[in-house]
């Protein structure tokens, strides 16, 4: 039973004022601008855009500032804002093969057309705190040969597909399901799963991906290709009758290739897992690709033995806005609920104690 309680208004107002004061910190230090967050915390911005499911770096930076750096709170803010926007249709599917690359690596082939492009990366850093950053400094980047160009970078997995060792991904004319309009219904299609995973929590997907390699689901993955860069987005407005480019967005794409020994009528081959995220978000894209592959267990007649292979478990728990919302609700007043629990426990205690007391009296007698 819920009973309305009043009286918290002044306390709540003041709590909000205190929160704003906490967010601002020491006023002798200059206030952080949204543009500073956008420019100097691009990876936090990317995460908020991906899981907030709205590509808008300024709004994501604003959300991070407002949330005092709590990224999950920022994701919630962005999700809430996106519900106020009208939707102008859907884009044509991204052509990621035409990306302007800022990073492209493959763990499956050393020498590949286009080469290994490291781009800006934390890999190979020593994870030693850089005390130089305590002071302001110039970071001009490497010496660039302005005439240098990138060779064309064909998709790594196409090389395997050309040999017939991997199924080709082919477009289809099927209608694209949208979980923001039609709630998920199990079993789900791969398109539904990828949409849910794209909004899913990075930590959750990372942990599930890790679990598949520790034995919870047979999965032996290689990072076939990871690409980070800018890709054009096109839409075809009804009133124009032809498609037009809206601009570019930064994305991270990961294609995992997994060994599959074959069986139940399917030949030995490699199989695919796909990850896609807004911005520079390598870990997210990799976790997503691992989980996409593990959720394809049914397709390859694999035994479902780990949590990462159970679609209901994964998809119903991967959204951190839902998860945080549900857990947060435990903070709501449950005074009446709890009173009845308290009475029940007291009663049960009394019942349990009565025979014990009787026995004790008997013993004394």
């Amino acid at each position: 039973m819920y009973v309305a309680v009043k009286g918290g208004e002044r306390a709540i107002d003041n709590a909000h004022l205190l929160l704003a004061k906490m967010r601002r910190g020491d006023t002798s230090i200059p206030e952080l601008t949204v543009e500073q967050v956008r420019q100097q915390m691009p990876l936090a911005v990317a995460r908020v855009m991906s899981e907030g499911s709205l590509y808008d770096s300024e709004l994501a930076a604003l959300a991070i500032k407002q949330a005092a750096g709590d990224l999950m709170e920022a994701i919630f803010l962005l999700r809430a804002y996106r519900t106020t926007l009208p939707r102008f249709g859907s884009s044509l599917p991204l052509d990621t093969t035409q990306m302007l690359l800022s990073r492209r690596i493959s763990a499956t082939f050393k020498d590949l057309p286009g080469g290994q492009l490291l781009g800006p990366t934390f890999d190979y850093t020593h994870r030693l705190l850089d005390f130089a950053l305590l002071a302001e400094g110039e970071h001009p980047g490497p010496q660039v040969d302005a005439t240098a160009q990138l060779e064309s970078c064909p998709r790594v997995l196409d090389l395997l597909a050309a040999e017939g060792l991997l199924a080709r991904e082919r477009p289809s004319a099927a209608e694209v399901p949208d979980m923001t309009r039609e709630p998920l219904d199990f079993p789900t299609s791969r398109a539904q799963r990828l949409q849910a995973l794209a909004r899913g929590d990075e930590g959750f997907l990372l942990a599930l991906g890790y679990s598949t390699q520790r034995g919870y689901g047979r999965n032996h993955p290689f990072a076939g290709e990871i690409r980070i860069g800018e890709v054009e987005v096109w839409i075809e407005p009804e009133e124009l009758g032809f498609a037009v480019p809206l601009g570019d967005i930064e994305i991270t794409e990961c294609e995992m290739v997994n060994q599959f020994v074959g069986g139940k009528g399917i030949e030995p081959q490699f199989t695919r897992g796909y990850g896609l995220a807004f911005g520079y978000a390598e870990r997210k894209a990799m976790g997503m690709a691992l989980v996409d592959r593990s959720l394809r267990a049914g397709e390859y007649a694999e035994e479902v033995e780990g949590p990462a292979q159970q679609e209901e478990f994964v998809l119903m728990h991967c959204d951190n806005v839902e998860a945080a919302g549900f857990v947060s609700h435990l903070k709501l007043p449950h005074y009446v609920d709890f009173q009845s629990e308290l009475e029940l426990i007291r009663k049960l205690r009394k019942q349990a104690e009565a025979p014990m007391q009787a026995a004790a009296q008997e013993n004394r007698a």
Partner: protein
Amino acid sequence: MTVEHVSHWLQPAFNDPVLDAQVSFRAALKALAEPGLVQGMDRALALDGLQPATYALCLAFLDADTPLWLAPRFDTAAIRANLAFHCGCPIVAEREMALFALLDEPELSDLSAFDNGSERYPDQSCTLLIQLEALDGGSLLRWRGPGIRDVRAVNLPLAAAFWQQRSARSAFPRGLDAFFAAGQQVIGLPRSTRVLFNLEEAA
């Protein structure tokens, strides 16, 4: 239809899309909350055969999630192009599929195919947007029900067939809600309003 033609038909709609849609939506809510009372609805311009109030209802209600059925009189290139452009609503050929229907008086003699909702989801019925020449001049009827203190006299210029059709499609909570629009005015008629035709019923 070529796209050049589509561009040619397009006209401005609300001056301030957000505010004007909110004001119009609010007026529409008020029209349903107080059945029979005339509400102003003047935020849109006329469009082709649509009067300002009718067009404002369309702009306030319709979007990509609201399939619309158009009476033949309103099925023109200009109306189709502008509704697609400003509202993005799908226009359907089957009445059964429509969540909204844009009607004129002659269409009111047959409402049998419009969805009147289900017991479980009575809210998913088709809402009728009916454009009339005027909101008065018909025979004086007395309306009763939620939103009306005692009784309200309304003289919409409607043929008897409409009232027969309406009652044939009415099985509360199922039923059809209607808006009547003329010029810059609107009257709402929710399914919950009882319309009294003669003295016995009034008693």
